[in-house]
């Protein structure tokens, strides 16, 4: 067994363990952290496939941004484990049906004649100075430019929709607008009044 194969099996074992713990951990924060571990391990596997750009971007986007926001939300939830366990048996049957369909679908693809490993030739290893990133960029902006643009527009629509859904500002709630606060000048807040000192009415005598 070569060194790379050993690393592959070690990473695959960690990945499976982490993925299993994501759905079995009792505490949702632990689940989210195991998902982080799964992402990092998957990035390691992609690195073994010589897909450096995708591997690093997986860590950058999913671990560095998406999971941080996930944790942000999950940590703030007030979770009652007993209430979560309610109705476990009611959901078991539909869940088993869904799981069965998924296993069947994956089996048709992975075990079928049309997608067997023999159909895929092993890619030849690239020289060390081969830039994965440059090649990917070239393909995305030349050969696959229209699918890429369509995907970008889809994402944009999703962003606009998500923002529009959450933009329901209540009219009666009070809030501060920092943009207006930082623009404040002295004249908006303080009025300097010139008040000449008055002379006492009696003149000369001090009381």
């Amino acid at each position: 067994m070569s060194f790379q194969t050993a690393i592959f099996y070690a990473f695959a074992a960690i990945l499976l363990f982490a993925a299993l713990r994501v759905i079995t951990a009792r505490n949702p924060v632990h689940s989210a952290l195991f998902l982080v571990l799964a992402f990092v391990t998957a990035a390691g596997l992609w690195m073994l496939l010589e897909a450096e750009f995708l591997a690093i971007v997986l860590v950058l986007v999913y671990v560095g941004a998406v999971m941080v926001l996930f944790l942000f939300v999950v940590m703030m939830l007030d979770i009652n484990l007993d209430r979560l366990r309610e109705g476990y048996w009611d959901y078991l049957v539909p869940a088993l049906v869904v799981a069965g369909v998924m296993v069947l679908e994956m089996a048709t693809i992975l075990l079928g004649r049309y997608f067997s490993l023999e159909g895929m030739p092993r890619p030849s290893p690239r020289p060390a100075d081969y830039s994965n990133t440059r090649e990917l960029g070239r393909l995305v902006y030349t050969e696959y430019v229209y699918p890429f643009e369509v995907a970008a527009v889809l994402l944009l629509v999703a962003i606009v929709a998500a923002i529009a859904l959450t933009l329901r500002a209540r009219k009666d709630s009070k809030f501060q607008d920092p943009a207006r606060q930082v623009k404040v000048k002295r004249a908006d807040r303080v009025r300097l009044v010139s008040m000449p000192a008055e002379k006492p009415a009696g003149g000369g005598k001090e009381g």
Partner: protein, 339 residues
Amino acid sequence: MDFFQQLLGPAWPLVWTTLKIVAIVLPIMGAVAYLTLAERKVIGYIQVRIGPNRVGPRGLLQPIADALKLLTKEIIIPAGANRFLFLLAPVISIMAALAAWAVIPFDAHLVLADVNAGLLYVLAITSMGVYGVIIAGWASNSKYAFLGGLRSAAQIVAYEIAMGFALVGVLMMSNSLNLGDIVRAQEGRAGLLSWNWIPLFPMFVVYVISAVAETNRAPFDVAEGESEIVAGFHVEYSGMAFAIFFLAEYANMILVSTLAAIMFLGGWLSPVPGLPGGVHWLLLKVVFGLFFFLWFRATFPRYRYDQIMRLGWKVFIPVTLVWLLVVGVWMRTPLWLWN
């Protein structure tokens, strides 16, 4: 060297790489120790004080005394804390602060790993540092620590985007993700005028301010905010566990200063045309950047939390996006001077 190579056989690359890693990490640790002294001295002089001057000649042994004190203190684990995560959090912080050094080029040939996607690697590794803060905040089982962790998460996600866009400008200048190539692309006849900081000036400013925010330093240190939430995410930490957070913060400061020097200030290149470049120029630029960190801390009051969010999302991201367009168009015209 050949003798050792024959002695160790196949284990030689492992030993040799470990030695190289030690040769990078040990000076960083020393620099961190003396950066804390420099901070106390510089801020002392800014505030018309003398700063530490008792331990050793002119107070030069102060960091060593501090380290001994922290080493001998007890690590207290709060009741109800998640023990494993509580101890894991500082380890993640220091891991992120040190692992990024693997791809930093100190000189034209002096680099541990000359990776093609070096810049992406640095971004990915440093973005994992936030987990140290979040996990510490959550595992401490304390309201103040938790609030600090949440603040830090929101802040770091906001400023990472602006920082990423600023780095896209650097990529456009150098056509490469390799940090060594980024420096080489800045080489020119005009010395410091041919570096990236002139054509990318708005991005340079955004990068410097985001770097201060990313490292949770004043005036962006709301994750600690000692006047509001005591000490934020590390309020429950003591002894060596706290010291590791401290080390990570200062190692991160040195790291982002080095990155700023590499990406905008020409790395190891000399500012005067004709003089040879070298690692001493990089060190000078890093020290210059670090002095700004200390100067900021002594000068600015802490930002209010909502103002930080506004600055990140509504000011920096539009500024960098507009400047990306400007640079993109500018590069195509004959007025472009940086080739």
